[in-house]
Assembly symmetry: C2
């Protein structure tokens, strides 16, 4: 019934592996052209005000091929976000899980941020700006986040489900707060510090007085 398409939809451009066959290289090229043109075009004219046809016309592909590569118009705009969480899940699987889980979540994200390449750090802030300007994109992003959270919970299936789910929600909330503070300037080196700060503020937030 439900979509749940978080998994390998995104070809991980961060782990650069040029496919051998010409056909796949061509396909990847139009894919990247769509992504690149999408964030610039949407950035200029706004996501909601830019018809999909404008994108298709500029990249010179048909509607049919676009929807073979992406699930929706939102999908192509949010590629950078999906890539981040794909890598995160990958990192999370390989990390040693001992000690406080909150630290594990944080460490996994810090490692993830180190893995992202320069091109991603160029596209990600642009994507954040698109999200901030479009309610539709924001809703889509939140739903994607929820799917990732479910995925994380699934891999840690323990007895104390309530505590676990709460902690995951808290971590993602801290991540979003860090992004909000990062958005104005978007200096790549500062994001880890902001995230650390948000995470270390979680305890005092609970005992905040009016």
């Amino acid at each position: 019934m439900r979509d749940l398409g978080v998994l390998g939809t995104v070809i991980a451009m961060t782990t650069v592996e040029q496919p051998a066959t010409l056909r796949e290289r061509k396909k990847l090229r139009t894919r990247q052209a769509l992504i690149e043109t999408a964030i610039t075009l949407f950035g200029e004219r706004g996501f909601d005000n830019t018809p999909l046809d404008a994108l298709l016309e500029q990249v010179e592909v048909s509607r049919r091929t676009f929807f073979r590569n992406f699930h929706s118009k939102e999908d192509v705009a949010l590629t950078a976000v999906k890539q981040l969480w794909d890598i995160y899940l990958e990192v999370f699987d390989g990390i040693e899980k001992s000690g406080p889980l909150a630290d594990v979540f944080l460490a996994a994200m810090l490692t993830t941020l180190e893995r992202m390449d320069e091109d991603w750090y160029r596209r990600f802030p642009l994507t954040l700006q698109l999200i901030a300007d479009s309610a539709a994109l924001d809703g889509y992003t939140l739903r994607h986040c929820a799917e990732v959270q479910a995925e994380i919970a699934c891999r840690l299936d323990e007895q104390n489900r309530l505590e676990l789910r709460l902690l995951i929600e808290f971590f993602v909330a801290a991540w979003r707060c860090a992004l909000d503070e990062w958005l104005p300037d978007c200096t790549p080196g500062e994001l880890p510090a902001l995230l650390r700060r948000a995470c270390s503020t979680m305890n005092s937030a609970l005992s905040l007085e009016a």
Copy 2:
């Protein structure tokens, strides 16, 4: 640019005030007919699989009038959710804000739950089920939640914004967790207890070990 339409879109059916004029009573009647038919129809055939025309045909209204009453197809399905948060903000405004803010948020929701009438407790679980079955509805709900959070933060604008925003996120996360545990049976009297439990678990969640 953005929608931000949380405010008085929903005619508070919980504060029952029959409007004097016949015209407004008629309008309210078709409104309620749309809401009622929507949740039953979507519940039978699924939100994504039910065209809007099916609803319009059954209630015997035109497309035009529907969109004068609701912003979107999602909007009519989520009326119960919007009503809840409308009342919540209303309660929150009137409550005394002293002591730990976390307790204030919780108290406001407990009061809100007491204010909701019987008809709401019939429709709300149905709405939750619709959300659980449709990704589109889920995304729409999450976005609405984010708008409410922004609204709450706006009314408490203090210096420590980071702590405040984190706390609000935590509270809403606890609320969603409580709803998840409530969904299977949906006994009205149990929801407050579940919410209390989720809120009191927040502290130990932060120090959860792997």
